[in-house]
Symmetry: C2
Amino acid sequence: MLNFTFSNKTRVHFGENQISQVTNEIPLSAKVLLTYGGGSIKKNGVYDQVIEALAKHTVFEFSGIEPNPSYETSMKAVALVKQENIDYILAVGGGSVVDASKFIAAAAEFNGEPWDILAKGAKVESAVALGVVLTLPATGSESNGGAVISKLATKDKLAFMSEFVLPQFAVLDPSVMNSLPARQLSNGVVDAFIHTTEQYLTYSVNAKIQDRFAEGILHTLIEEGPKLFTDEKNNDVNANVMWSATQALNGLIGSGVPQDWATHMIGHEITITFGLDHAQTLAIVLPRLLWEMRETKQDKLLQYASRIWGINEGDTESRIKLAIEKTEQFFHSVQMKTRFSDYQLGEEVVEVIVSQLERHGLTQLGEKQLITLDHSRNILKQSL
Amino acid sequence: MLNFTFSNKTRVHFGENQISQVTNEIPLSAKVLLTYGGGSIKKNGVYDQVIEALAKHTVFEFSGIEPNPSYETSMKAVALVKQENIDYILAVGGGSVVDASKFIAAAAEFNGEPWDILAKGAKVESAVALGVVLTLPATGSESNGGAVISKLATKDKLAFMSEFVLPQFAVLDPSVMNSLPARQLSNGVVDAFIHTTEQYLTYSVNAKIQDRFAEGILHTLIEEGPKLFTDEKNNDVNANVMWSATQALNGLIGSGVPQDWATHMIGHEITITFGLDHAQTLAIVLPRLLWEMRETKQDKLLQYASRIWGINEGDTESRIKLAIEKTEQFFHSVQMKTRFSDYQLGEEVVEVIVSQLERHGLTQLGEKQLITLDHSRNILKQSL
């Protein structure tokens, strides 16, 4: 096991009817900015519950945060935060709203050009306090300090991390998943699954708890994910998927182990250039990336084949091949496609994405930094 | 899954040479009280590392905290904390030192008779800040808000919980385990194992992540625990056991699920009356408690039999019986005995313990409060 420091102070309120916890979580003296997306929260009752919980607070609103939230939109909210002296941001939505709110929280107190936080790794030294009411389980952003923001003008999709934007609290009510469209559920399950593999399918450092917990998340998503699209969907299924997604990226399973994240880096470039949903890009890249890097990932891929898919027979290559096939079948079972051609995209994507990776300096990706542009090119070609 | 609120803000520094983190964790302005036990930390180098880390701090010391720490000893430290205006306690030791330090931290700021915190559930409303350098993985006390204290004068062993005594930070250096005697290693493995079963072997609420994580801890302890007593012992083995013990009782696997704790309640009475180590009592009680309550715990016992021990054949009773036998064999494999007779105790224990349980109002124990004094009596009789 590698040395690590782990802490996560986000207070999670999990279960039905927990949105009322917002009342006591946010000081009554705070000026609150409610941030949200396209307005689905007004149809599913979440908005009403939040407003009721904040009945005695001073509340401002900022809506219209888009999927793959943009720097451009976020900066409008930053202006509002400064103008109204907001001192608490309550993000009500999925990963996009939460990520945007983190950037808004940091940018509002940043001296200088906030884009530098993303583009130059400029240090965040304070942020407006942040709380979350989660409406879509997927990114784990509700209890971590990371966020991904896109600059539309320049086609940059970049990440930053700061303990200052870790949410103070997060409300996870699984019943809100009942109003989600299938596409968002597919995205959520696949995103959580691949967050887990990014921290698990690397090389072994004999970190047994981290491996077992990662496997527990994968098993749960495999068992429960497909039920979301059938009559078996109920609040227990929702809850198990929701809690999986949080555990997949709250820092716990990644503590003391190597991490990959190449699938995400390549995926980000696909989203910013071709507009696919984040999880759609991951599901295209992961199967081919695992195959491309099967030698350096061999031990963990064999462990994955055995413990997750029960594959114990055959030679090494055939076991790995079958495990990757099973993974792709699982994605299909949650209504997720796994090829560029499924989105009417062809060979034209390959060099565009490779150029983007090169432009962003992403020429040595993965847990051992062995994924060169040639590897990325091959992964993309095999994914057509 | 049941509704829950989970948070755990203890910052864990894990790995070799992490004791130096103490320097930055404790404000330089703080007056620090170093608390420890019988002095083994002076032989294994931990004391020297801590003193080096606190070279620029003002440090007082309080040693002599015993296993199953007492109210009587703790109150001496409380007097010192008040006299010297201590504002940070650094507990260096195992669960006993940490638990005592929690009580000291709370009692020093408590208005009234501190014993009421334990005996009457009097509310803790503040506490001296607490940090931990852990020397013995077992209780999970390094990152939870619970503590168990014994009053020798009256043979009471009682617990309290408060978020105010949750350690601010905990240093977990697995190499400190190399100097531990076998008996303490046995105790640690068994304690962590039974903390896990107390939160897992109840009844199903379809909480799949919690089940999988609990099973991950059990698997790891079963795989790694016995190696502590062989040539296979190394820092990876130490680390896996140590991280298992923390995860077993930091609140995570118990969130959203029913909990038992009857084994602990019965065990506490055995320790306070007959002096057995805490984990020794648990290893005696658990096998018979699981058998006694096999009907109400049936579904989880069958899941345990299958997932942990690979037992999938035979009728219900025989599968449960075999799983319990395997559990007991595992305890033996980590040099832990499982019968009163192993400690030269006989039938005389039964009514003494039953009286203690009655005196403490522990007449309806377990996740469904179905463990009456008659059940406890039978569990004890079967454990002779």
